[in-house]
């Protein structure tokens, strides 16, 4: 695959790639821009190679995710394993339109699978490929994430109702 073809693929997915980078960086714009730039560099310098053009989006998302993990690690924002699996309880009042804040209350893997499926219209199998986990595990994260997010949305709505 030559440089022009890669450029074309990256440009076609640029908006989605940026939004995904943002979601991988806890919605921090500046970090997302850096991550995206580094991911593009990896691709154009040939450090990451696309074998199957039909899987371009999955491949790009996977590179962005791993670049974001590296960047977060460098920044010292390491999340312990237990933190990444346990759901974060809603302690403070969250606005029902603050979608990013609500999503942040999901454990990391569940959040990623849910975002890929509902926001980026991917399949659970594609999510599993990006996360490099088995399909069964991805399905578990998907089911738990869905259940948890529904609970969160309901909780936020109740909080708002109660507040009124």
């Amino acid at each position: 695959m030559n440089r022009n073809q890669l450029d074309h693929i990256l440009k076609a997915h640029h908006r989605d790639a940026y939004l995904w980078a943002r979601q991988c960086c806890s919605f921090e714009d500046e970090m997302a821009k850096d991550v995206l730039q580094q991911a593009y560099l990896k691709i154009l310098e040939g450090q990451a190679k696309l074998k199957d053009a039909s899987k371009a989006k999955t491949w790009l998302f996977s590179i962005i995710r791993y670049t974001a993990i590296d960047e977060i690690r460098k920044a010292g924002k390491v999340v312990s394993l237990s933190d990444s699996y346990d759901p974060v309880e809603l302690t403070e009042e969250v606005d029902s339109t603050d979608y990013e804040e609500i999503i942040k209350h999901l454990p990391e893997m569940q959040r990623e699978v849910i975002l890929m499926v509902f926001y980026h219209q991917m399949t659970i199998a594609q999510s599993a490929e990006i996360l490099q986990i088995g399909l069964g595990t991805a399905r578990t994260h998907y089911d738990r994430g869905k259940k948890r997010l529904k609970e969160l949305i309901t909780k936020v709505q109740i909080q708002e109702e109660y507040g009124k």
């Binding site: 939004l19 821009k33 154009l44 979608y99 999503i103 509902f118 926001y119 997010l149 529904k150």
Partner: protein, 103 residues
């Protein structure tokens, strides 16, 4: 059939909100391509350096080995020495030759 209406509505609204996000322009990534000019430039520089580092062999002038001291008499009968240095002697006169003739 899964009942995902609540979640779909949530993400539809989230996407609508995200439309306000300013997407950065696609970056013009300059890749660090290995250029032909880099090794060519290095080779040329090394060639020049090699030429300049070779000092030209200095032609050492032969040390003057012969000193000719002559005692000359001018038209006023005054005698004075002339000293000259040379590497060769085209005529040689024995320093004692005068003894043979004068005495």
């Amino acid at each position: 059939m899964e009942n995902n209406e609540q979640l779909e509505r949530f993400f539809d609204q989230m996407k609508k909100q995200d439309e306000q996000i300013e997407i950065p322009a696609f970056p013009e990534v300059k890749i660090r391509k290995f250029s032909f000019w880099i090794p060519a430039g290095i080779a040329a520089s090394m060639g020049f350096a090699f030429l300049f580092m070779q000092e030209p062999a200095t032609v050492e002038s032969a040390p003057p080995e012969i000193v000719i001291i002559t005692l000359q008499e001018d038209e006023n009968q005054n005698q004075h020495f002339t000293i000259e240095e040379t590497t060769f002697l085209d005529t040689w006169e024995s320093p004692t030759a005068s003894l043979l003739t004068d005495y």
